[in-house]
Point group: C2
Chain length 190, copies 2
């Protein structure tokens, strides 16, 4: 997706070989026109998958996922990294470790918002080792729902998350695939 | 806003006199068509305020704020409740206490994403005692930017946040104002 790749090249900053700073357009300051275009792109890619709902993780996935859900005309469900005292009832949970941020969290969703049998499209901002995606897959499985696709804004193709998802036969759409990066260069796969 | 009030009456649940559960359409499962309509409503209300950027707090404010920013054709900036090791540089911070959730957090934004002199529209899901809004005002002041309006999806008018903001002369647009609620009833102010 040219508009996204241009944003990465012009506004992104590779801190080192593993960390890409995109806080000027994706996860702190947000280029909403770009998010809208990303939503349209994901919706077009997955239009034949009979998507019942879009699933994402707070908070950087929300903007691209919201526009995707709007274009698909389905509800969005936001999995929580933190629960609150008013989040009660039948909860589905799994532990996820973020390598980039060096943190662990309990990914949580109310079972009623992930109905049995639903076709779920998972959207996230980054795919690296796939920990967040596999956390989502774990909750979708616990809910007895089905994954019909995964939409990723930026894929770090030099990590093994994409390979692990491909091996499961899940349709993955990554809008920018980074082959290699260093503090001076960002190189795309295709 | 009728569409929103209908969602509150039909899908919301007053847990007690202070806590309103709206996780089926606003902050866990999200009705994206409603968020889009909310964005259009805020954009129309503040169209003459020369808004330079929309500001919100992760994570429940992001969906309504993203659609507002889209309609106003300006960037969205998401203030963080948690920082990460890749969030460095010149940070503006203030402490906010959430009465509903019983938690405290450091509200954080990079100074570069809240430029001096910008007209800022703050959007949030709830206004109760106004702690989050006053946290936002504190950061806007530290940034030497200006607040040009506050858009609130659901106002708990029985708490004093709205009164405190009105006293400062800030234009506030609340799309649903709740006068009173109990476990059986939700009553709107207007």
């Amino acid at each position: 997706m040219k508009m996204l790749k241009d944003a990465i090249l012009n506004q992104g900053k590779a801190i080192n070989e593993h960390v890409l700073l995109v806080d000027s357009f994706l996860n702190h300051q947000v280029d909403v026109a770009l998010m809208d275009a990303i939503g349209a792109e994901f919706a077009a890619f997955f239009k034949d998958k009979k998507v019942d709902r879009v699933l994402t993780i707070e908070s950087s996935g929300i903007a691209p996922a919201a526009f995707t859900a709007k274009y698909l005309n389905v509800p969005l469900v936001i999995m929580k990294k933190q629960t609150s005292k008013i989040m009660t009832g039948d909860l589905l949970q799994t532990e996820v470790r973020s390598f980039t941020k060096g943190t662990e969290y309990q990914l949580t969703v109310k079972r009623m918002f992930l109905p049995k049998g639903d076709n779920v499209l998972f959207i996230d901002d980054f795919l690296a080792s796939g920990e967040a995606a596999f956390g989502a897959l774990s909750l979708i499985k616990k809910a007895e729902a089905s994954i019909c696709g995964i939409g990723i804004v930026i894929e770090k193709s030099f990590q093994d998350g994409r390979k692990r998802l491909d091996e499961l036969g899940i349709p993955v759409c990554s809008l920018a695939r980074i082959k290699h990066m260093s503090s001076n260069t960002i190189e795309f796969l295709e």
